[in-house]
Each structure stands twice: as C-alpha cells, then as structure tokens.
Symmetry: C2
Subunit: 394 residues, 2 copies
C-alpha cells in the first residue's frame, strides 16, 4: 500500500469552491438532539440562476461522492461523478437550470464533519461529532438554499443516498420544490444494507490506526481498514453480470496463476485499486457517520409507520427510477416508494431501466435513463411555465 | 472483542477423532508442482462399513466446516453442521451407509495446513505452505479411501465448496463412485465470488497481527481481520429475504437507536457474533488458502474449456441441487453443470429447491431438499443392488 499524506485530514476546508458558514446565530437542531453551531457547508454551482430564481435544481450526492458534480475533482483530478448528467445540453441542462450541490453534513470535502475542529475543544471532533441523519443533511441543504435567496427549487435530484435525501426533501419541504427524482434508492435501509455497512465499519474500527476514532491526534489514519470497507462496499455497487462482463476470470498481467496471494485475477487488482485510491480522498470517521445516517434512514418511522403519510397532499411531481440489475437498492424498493406516492395521491412516474450495470448504473452511460430524466424535467418545466422564464421555449 | 488463547493455533492435531499419516513413502504431487510429504488427514466416520465395502459415502465439507458432520464440535461444542442430513434414519442414513468425512487439505481441524509444522524447517508452514486446489483436496481424500480399503464409493456428497469437491471426484475418479451429489455449487468461481474472497483476504492481511502470515512466531493471531472476513462472507451465505425475515430493522435490547456506533440493530449484533466466534475455531492462514483454492477452481480449464469433457462417458449417476434464493452459487451455475452432464450423456437429475434461506439452506431444515437426497440415494441403492447387501431391502 502506498504512503499517504497524513496531513490530508483536517484540510478539507482548504479545498476550492464555495463555503458558507451557518449556525452562529441560529444553530441547526439535529435529530439526535444536539444543536450544531458554527458549521460550514461547501458547495458548487453550475449554470445561472434566472431572474425569478425559479430554475434551481439541488443535486444530492451519494455516500462517497461530493459537490464536484461536473468538474474535475480537486483531490483526484478525476472528472465529475455526474458529468454525463449535468452540463450544457445534458439531461440536467446547465444552459437552462442552475444546479447546486453541497457536500453533505458529516462529509469530508469541505462541509463540517468529524475530521474538522470542534470549536468548543479546539480539537478534531472525531467520535464526539454528533450522529447525523439524512434529514439533518437535508436541513443543512435547505439553509444553503435560503442563503442563496431561493424560495422554491425547480427540482431535487439524487441517486442512492442522494435519493434518500430527495425523499426527505419531499417529506420535509414539499412547498419548496416542484419536482423530485429519487433514483436507485429505498425508503429505508434493509437488514442486508445495514449488514454490509457494519462490515465496513468493523473493518475501519479493527484497524489499530483508527485509535478509537482519534487518529488525527495520533498523526495516523486507518487506511487499511478504510480500504477494506471500500472494497466490500464496491462489490455491492456492481452487478454480478457486470463483474463477469468486465473481468470474468481473466488474469492480471500473467498467463498462469501465481500460486500465491498476489492479485492474480483482474477483479482482485481492480478491487485493490478501488480500496487504495479511496483512502486518499475520504475520511474514515466520515465513512462511519455517513453509513450510520443511511442505516438509520427509515422514512416511514416519523409518519406512524405509513410511508404514504410522508407525502400526504403533496403537489410535488415525482419521477422514481430504478435499475433492473441493482441488488443494493432493488426495484422492489422503488416500487414501495411508488406505492406510497400513489396512496398519497401524488403525481408520480416510475421507470425501471433495463441495465446490467448494477447500482452504479445511475452514474454511468445509460442513454435510456438520461432520456427519462431529460424528458421528465422538460415536462415539469412546461407545466410550471419555466421555459418562458428561461426565454428558450421547449 | 474477547481475549483468545493464542496457543490454539498449532494444536489442531490434538483434536479427537481419527488421524492418518500419508506421504512418507509416496508423496502427494500437488497441482502447484510441489510434492507434499509427511502430512496428516483427520477424519470422522459414522455408521458401519458393510462386508463388501459397497456402502461408503464420502461427505465433502465446505469452506469453514469440518469432519465433525454429525456430532458436537470438539472446539465449540455446537452440534454437527449436517446433523439434519447425516444420522440414523436421516437422508444419509447411517443405519444403511458408512459415512466418511475428512478435514480438507489446507484446513485447520486436524488435517495438515499452514498452521502445522513444516517438517523440513521445524517451524509452522505459514505462507510457505504450498497453495492447494480443490483437486488436491480430493486426491488426499482418495488416499484416505484407499487407506480404508474401499475400492468404490457408493456416493460422494457435498454442498458449496463440498460440491466443488464432488465435481472433482466425478472428474478424477469416476470409476471409484456410483453417485455424485453436488449441491449449491458451481463449476467455477465467478468474478463476484472471487471479489468477496479477496475482501476477506485483504481484511486478514491488513491486520498487523497477521505478520505477513508468520503470526505464530509472534505469538499473535489476526483475530480482528479474520472476524471482518467472516462477517463479509456470512452476508453472502444468507439471502436478503432471510436477513429481512430474521432481523429486519429490529433493534438489539433497546427501544431507540444509540446515536453512535454500538450494535444498534440485531443484524449488526448477529454479524459481530459470527465474526467473534469464528476466530476461536479457525486459522487465518487456512482461510487464505482455502478461499484461494476456491478462486482457482475452474473445472473446465483442464478439459479444453469444455465442461462436458470432464464427465465424458461417465457412469456416475448425478443429482444436482440448487436453492432458489442462493445468490452466491445461484441456480444458473447448477444449470451449467447439468447442461455439461447432459452433453456428456450422463445420468443426471436436477432439482431447484424453493427456499428463502439463501446459500446456507443446504445445512438448514429444508424438508424438500432432504426428501430429494433420501430418494435419490434410495434409487441408486436399488440400481446397484445395495439394499440386498444391507439386508434391509427398500
């Protein structure tokens, strides 16, 4: 495993992009009961806000992605994670819409999280950071939207954990949005989802360099545990078919097996690479907090166990999308969302995209999916007269 | 995590049961090219061998099970792993059949593996132990069968990795067996299978207590890494439905979440328990070697890439069984075996058992499965006139 800059932790607020500070005057009351004061939200925007501020779209990112949606990542130099979706002429067309994406609360790419300094103690939060929820993430995003002077969003869009945020947006702030696109997501985390996350957390916490969460004080980082966590999670992001198609049993740079424990197979080499590169851009405690937020997510719980009650009387237009080979958030989870929306009398479209790419399909080249998003947004724009305001009618 | 007896490693040959030594006169040539001399095979038997030695069944165990098929485990005191299948009046009826099960080569429950002493150096083998294959395991079993004076087995039966051994038995020694029951298995390890194993291996090798495989010399054992490996693997043994049915989102001994990283959910507590208890009975290097043997398994490779060639002209009668919710070795893998057997003109029955219990179903209470095994064996016994020899005609 390569060496790493152990000073990387704690420097996330030095990353380029927009930062806004909240909480000094009005703290954010978290679901766990803690008041969060003096926290930062880091965000990026794409496109231009129109005069009546009616063309804003909030993009909600997934577990390990961030606000660098459609531009090279400042840490890895890799292209933005949704570059196929967000940009001029793309489905989320930045010639028409003003796109906002903020790093989630608890994250490690500029928004306050466990690696940042606790203003009370002057030391990194570590495990003293309060446990956050998907709803807390969304409340912080709403503060950002307030800060930008936007009353009502045109749409909120996200896949995976981003989709959970979309559902929370629609539940908490239905009057502040026209459209919601929860993609490849679920209304609550299943036992299997929790199990995979727990494996990742145990891998991190088993690493002696984790130091009970206080690794920054020890000038260490639990790289090995975090890499194993990433490897385990990464398998769940791909379908069995995709792994077979991409790698099968092909060997890596050799004609015969090594009769040992090198990365003989390409799939091993690929997984190791996923683990090793991940630790350079992600904080281990953040990984614990964000997976915990996902595990705690069970939208119906606040609504007497009836998911439909989360959306009662909503005027938000929904487009729910799943992918046929996604076994992490399979289509039946999206159907549960759709059934609840139907029961709530909501306006809802549902599409299952046929794909063999698994969960990660939502970030990959899936033309049918892209057409669905583009078409749905265009329809909503017409319904809300947005095209007239943009001066470039459909 | 509890403390463990670090002396447990290396004591496997002190376990109760039968042990036989091989290789001093005729070494075992392994697939990797190494000659294995002076090795031990530990085994258990159940029932009585009949006069003409025609009623012997070899049971092949899976990755983490062992020769204690139908009796309490000497290390854990837990009941035998196939107690529902093997015993008087059970499908593999020990009133009729003589059942043999040996710990696999590379294992850690009495048969020689990496934790044992290398006779050349006088030190534990560790990573100097040669990499073994499923075929090597089967060749060692055949030596045991020779030792017991049995020319022809009535049947060879096993699930999961045990099923791979069954397929190797049928490929290597078709004239030495009447029937083969490969259960919940595959003719080769898929990219996803390899990926999950690689995560487990990386978890072990990331544990500083692994010491490059030389932990015995350091009076240490990589318990934490091995526990994480077990947790990740254990998820794959259960179906999503089984996890939901058994645990759902139920909390463990509490009414509210802890807002922290305790095992809030029952599924977390269950997984942690699986990890912690596993390390008391299993050797980490053995886990590396056995998973590697499974990853290397690709039966058709020796036969020009045509699986049917492995079974050409066979007179073995096959019963292939899969379970509908097994996503580790899904039904399509069993179908591939069946298609090859059909192409080879073999006598083959195939049953997919409807079950929501996932891969582990083959060890659980599945009455339909048990009826299939009992019925198939009874039919083979009639075909081979075994019932007359047993004096208890069907």
């Amino acid at each position: 495993m390569p060496t790493h800059d152990t000073n990387a932790a704690g420097k996330s607020q030095d990353l380029p992009g927009h930062h806004v500070h909240f909480g000094r005057e009005a703290p954010l009351r978290l679901d766990c009961g803690v008041d969060l004061v003096d926290f930062t939200v880091a965000y990026q925007t794409y496109g231009t806000l129109n005069a009546d501020k009616s063309n804003a779209i909030v993009v909600c990112h997934a577990l390990t992605s961030d606000q660098f949606v459609a531009e090279p990542h400042p840490l890895t130099s890799k292209p933005g994670w949704w570059r196929l979706m967000v940009g001029p002429g793309l489905p989320i067309d930045t010639d028409r819409y003003f796109v906002i994406c903020s790093n989630i609360l608890g994250g490690c790419i500029g928004t306050t999280g466990p690696q940042d300094v606790n203003p009370v103690t002057g030391k990194p939060w570590g495990l003293d950071f309060p446990v956050i929820t998907i709803a807390d993430m969304v409340r912080a995003q709403a503060m950002l939207v307030d800060h930008l002077g936007i009353d009502k969003l045109f749409a909120v869009i996200g896949g995976s954990m981003g989709g959970m945020q979309v559902l929370e947006w629609a539940a908490l702030f239905p009057e502040r949005m026209c459209a919601a696109l929860p993609i490849a997501t679920a209304p609550r985390h299943s036992a299997q989802n929790i199990a995979f996350h727990e494996v990742g957390r145990q891998a991190i916490m088993a690493d002696p360099d984790w130091h009970g969460g206080d690794y920054q004080s020890h000038d260490a980082r639990p790289y090995r545990g975090l890499a194993v966590a990433r490897m385990a999670a990464h398998i769940t992001y791909l379908s069995e078919q995709a792994l077979t198609r991409k790698f099968g049993r092909e060997l890596q740079d050799r004609d015969e097996v090594s009769w040992g424990f090198d990365a003989d197979f390409q799939v091993e080499s690929y997984l190791r690479h996923q683990g090793i590169t991940f630790v350079d851009r992600f904080d281990a405690n953040s990984y614990l907090y964000i997976t915990r937020a996902m595990d705690y997510f069970d939208l119906s719980k606040r609504y007497g166990g009836v998911l439909a009650n989360a959306f009662k009387g909503t005027s938000v237009r929904f487009c729910v999308v799943s992918f046929s080979s996604d076994w992490l958030y399979p289509t039946r989870e999206s159907r549960a969302i759709v059934h609840a929306l139907n029961a709530a009398g909501a306006n809802v479209s549902f599409v299952e995209i046929s794909s063999d790419k698994g969960h990660d399909a939502f970030m990959l080249d899936e033309p049918d999916f892209h057409r669905v998003v583009a078409g749905f947004l265009r329809g909503c724009a017409e319904y809300h007269g947005l095209n007239r305001n943009l001066g470039n009618g459909a």
